[in-house]
Subunit: 262 residues, 2 copies
């Protein structure tokens, strides 16, 4: 089971760096290979078939690094492509939706889910939450603009506040627990909290990092070299603003970037 092998993290773009950030805090010794499909981001507006095809391609690319585990850090790819990737992957594959749904199912009362158009259309969170809590009342709202606002860096901004208010007002008043069903959203936590004070936010990336920790503990094994473990960043395209935006998500310097052609 060679525990020295890296954890592969796949995302549609660079939003998944918030998941890497959570993994680095929780499991600082682990070696990480991050693969971001920046050439074809966003997935959240694409169709099921296209998302599945792209997820399988990215899984195959990550496999070249012999990971002990692949984390699908993108909610949209998790919602549409996870089962297909699990069916062909030689290593375990973990998505962000099951951990987020499990955490949400532990709350009482109705649950809110915010995400991309494709994630909301998939109803993947509804299904996953009801697996733990049958009959749970779930309200989902697609928030397509939030990804753009996060990438534009308007993270503490009256316009972002107004957009968050508009989307979150679609949730009934009784909803007190909301899943951040997109890895870009933790960046906008301040605006989201102002728009809906008193809400418990579930960061699907953070709970996914905890699920990774359990998988390592229960068999896959921890890397034993000293922290911090190496972090390789591989992207399908590198635009001019990528470094600035990526470092905001990762919470540390990006270091060197590798490019792969698709």
């Amino acid at each position: 089971m060679r525990p020295q092998r890296p954890i592969g993290v796949f995302d549609s773009g660079i939003g998944g760096l918030t998941v890497v950030h959570a993994l680095r805090r929780l499991l600082p010794s682990e070696a990480l290979v991050y693969l971001g499909d920046t050439a074809r981001v966003p997935y959240g507006t694409k169709s099921h078939d296209t998302i599945v095809r792209y997820t399988l391609q990215m899984g195959a690319l990550l496999q070249q690094h012999d990971p002990k585990l692949i984390v699908v850090a993108c909610n949209t790819a998790s919602a549409h492509g996870l089962a297909a990737l699990q069916a062909v992957s030689p290593c375990p594959v973990l998505g962000v939706i099951a951990p987020g749904a499990e955490a949400a199912s532990q709350s009482n009362g109705p649950v809110g889910v915010i995400g991309t158009l494709a994630t909301v259309a998939s109803a993947a969170y509804e299904e996953a939450i009801r697996r733990h809590r049958p009959g749970a009342v779930i309200h989902s709202v697609a928030c397509p603009l939030l990804v753009s606002l996060a990438e534009e860096g308007w993270v503490d901004d009256p316009i972002t506040d107004a957009v968050c208010r508009r989307y979150l007002n679609e949730l009934p008043f009784e909803v007190k627990t909301v899943v951040l069903g997109c890895t870009h959203y933790p960046i906008l936590k301040a605006s989201l909290s102002r728009a809906r004070p008193g809400t418990t936010w579930i960061d699907s990336g953070e709970v996914a990092a905890e699920a990774v920790e359990r998988l390592l503990r229960n068999g896959l094994g921890f890397r034993t070299e000293s922290a911090p473990g190496p972090l390789r960043l591989i992207l399908t395209d590198a635009s001019s603003r990528l470094r600035e935006v990526g470092e905001r998500f990762l919470g540390e310097s990006l270091g060197s970037l590798e490019l792969v052609d698709l």
Copy 2:
């Protein structure tokens, strides 16, 4: 010179349907084949090399329809990929930047250009405007959120007004002529006008349609069948909201859509 052949229109997504709309009004008898790379939209955040590669691929796909002319309806693809496509295309290729720049150069005073990150980074409008008016003063502002707002359909909306104000306030007061350097922006004309009253807006799609008319008149020839000419819509992906958003851009029903795999 078979003038019955279609005009091929290529765009990164469906924003270019505003150009199709202008072509249908000006040249209603023409047959049009529209190819939108909806699987990989947006191009505006991608790198030069990737945009060039995608533009060449899409040009090759359009060539299968034996067009008499290809219009690159996407400003980002025009800014980065036009020369590469012209170098290999067996038919003439027209971008939207040269016509928009020519129209802008006829104004007095400084010129504003708004567009995607990649279009603004390319400085293609600056170069093209100065070809007609050397020494012209040009101020360019990247407006990454406007594409998302247009696709979200928040077209007459206080949030869109606020975003337009913020971007347009980056232009000096003296700027009275502004090029809409992205095919999505005509949809937001009301908000843009409110944010900057008294501005002359140059719609690069509309002036591109006029340039197409001149090319047909000066040699390529007009299709003689009765109007309306057939319109084929080919996309690389079809998401659930595509029809709703596309019809807003096209100004008529989308009819049937064809999909190609990339």
